[in-house]
Amino acid sequence: MDADLILDTGLIPFKQRFPDRYVEAGIAEQDMVSRAGGMALEGLLPVVHSFACFLPARANEQFYNNASEKKKIIYASSLAGLLPAGPGHSHQSVRDISIVGSIPYLTLIEPANEFETKLVLRWAVEKNPESTYMRLVSIPVEVPFSLPEGYSLERGKGVVLKEGGDAAIIAYGPIMLSESYKAAQLLEKNGVSAAVINLPWLNVIDEKWLSEVTRGRALVATLDDHYKTFGQGAMISQVLAALPNAPLTLSIGLDDIPACGTNAEVLIHHKLDAESLAQRIIQALTPEV
C-alpha cells in the first residue's frame, strides 16, 4: 500500500511485478492505515509505505487502533531523519520515534545499510509476531563500516562495528553510524579509543546486552537521527541510569527545528557531523576545571 510515492521511492518494479498486490491509496494516510487494519483483520499481511514525516504523524491514531487489535502490519517509512536537508522541515522526519515508539505490539527498527534492510524486512515478515515500523533513510550514503560476518538480528541487541575501550557511540541508520564511525577515527587521533555500536532497535532494548557492552567505559554517547527528546538515546539513558556504576552518558540528537541546506551544511549546523561529534565527546570526557 502506498500513498503516491512509488516514483520517488523506487517501488514501481513492485507494482509491475505484483499488480494485484499493490494498492494505491492516494495522499490519504489515515484512510490507508485503517484500510491496512481491515486487511490484517481479514488475514492478510499489509505492508504500508509513505514518507516518515507523514505516515506515523498523520495516521497516529490509526496506528494505535490497529495495534489494539494485535494483528500484524508492516509499516515502512522512507525519507526518515535529518537528511536530505533540501526539502526543509516539513519533510525532515525527526519526531516519528516519539510519535509511535510507545505503541505496544509495534517494534521500531532502522537498518544501517542495504544488507541490514533485507534482514529487517525478512525479520518483520517471518519472525516478528508483532507489527513492525521500518524507518528508512532515503539518500545514498557511502558507509565506512560493514556488518560482521554472519550477523543476524536479535531483538533489542546491537552489534559492535568498531572496537574501542574508553567510550562507546551508539547510533543507528547509515548517516549517523557513518558520522559516528568517522568521529571514532578522529577520536583515536586524539588518544581516545571509542567503539561504534549499531543498535537498529529504536523502542526495544536488551538491558543485559546494554549493560555488558557498556561496562567499564568512561562514556556512552548516543546519537539520534531524530529529536534528542524521546529518541533512542532517551531509552538507552533510562536503562543505563539504573545500572550500578553507570557510565557517563552524552545524548546527542536534534535540539531544534531542522535547518534547510545542503546535507553537509546541515549536519555541521546541528553539530551532528563527525568533527563536531568528536569534539563533543572529548569535551564530555574532559573533567571540568
Binding site: 490519504a28 489515515q30 484512510d31 485503517s34 481491515g38 483483520l41 481479514e42 488475514g43 490509526q62
Partner: protein, 332 residues
Amino acid sequence: MGELGGVQTNTGAKLYFILPAEIQKGLATIGDPLKKTELFAVTGRLNTLSMIMEAGSGHIGSSFSAMDIVSHLWHNVLRNPNQPQEQYSDTYFSSKGHDAPGLYSVFIGLGLLPAELLHKLRRLGGLPGHPDISTPHIATNTGSLGMGISKAHGMALARRMQKKSGRFYVLMGDGELQEGQFWESLQPAVNASLGEITAIIDHNKIQSDALIKETSDLGDIEQKLRAFGWFVIRIDGHDISAIAGAIDECAAVQDRPQIIIADTVKGKGVSFMERIGEDGYYKFHSGAPFGGGLSKGVGRASGAHPRPRHRTGHFRNSASCARRAAKSTAAH
C-alpha cells in the same frame, strides 16, 4: 444470578433485565419478522438502560438512536456475521463504537453472548466501553471516530483478494462525519466500486455536547454524499419496515457503495432523553444517565412509545414477569 437479574444500585434504585429466554418467549408470540424486531428493540433498550445504570456510565443516547437499525440487521439481515476466516460472512461493526452497550444487548438477546455479561459492562474481563475484538462477534476495535469506511474498504479488498464474499454494514454516527478521515475514505470506496459496503448514518442530530447544527453543521449531507458517487437513501431510522426496505434496496446496488441516512432521535425510547437540555447541552450522551431517578427511566423505556397493542402487550407481560422474578432474586 437467578433466572433474572434484579440488581439494586448503590443509590437504592432497582434495575430490571430481561433475560434471553424471556425475550424469545415474547418474540415467539409474534409472526411478522419486522414486528418481532420492533419488540426485540424495545427489550434491547431496557437491557441497555439497566446495563448502563449498573455500570454507572455508558453511551445511552446513541445506543438508543441506533437500536432499531442494529436490531433489524442482527435479527433479519446478516448472514454468518463477523467470521472473517469463512468463505461467506457478512460484516457488521459500528464505526462510532459508542453504541456498544446497545449492541451488547442485541448480542445477549440473540444468545450470542452469555446473559451474565449484562452485569459486566465496563468491568474488568467483561464488556468494554467501546467495541474490542476480544469480545466474541465484534469485528473491529472502534470508538476512535471516522475510521469505519476505511476499515470496511480494507476488509472488502482483502475478501476480494482471497476470493471470499460477504456484505459490509458500517454504522456511523452523524457527529463522526466531522472527522477528516470520513471524507478521506469516501472517494476511494467509490473508485474501487465497493458495492458490498452499506454505510448507515445514525443521524440523531446531536453530538457529544450539543446539536450538530450548532457545533459544525453538516450542510446538505445527502447532496455531498451523492457528489462523491455513493448511492444515497434517506429514511426514518425508527421505522423497521423503512429500514428493511432501504437495506434491500442497497443490497441490489452492485457498482458503488451505498449510504443510508437514517433520521433518528438520540435517546429514543425515553422521553426525557430525546431532547437537548434547556441549557443547549445534551445530558445523555455518555456517563451515568441519572442519579437515583432510575425507575422513571425504566418505566418509560418499556412504555414510552405506544405501539400496536398486541406487541406492547407481550412486551409488558414479559417485563412484568421479569419484574416479579427480579423481586424474588433481589431479595437474597
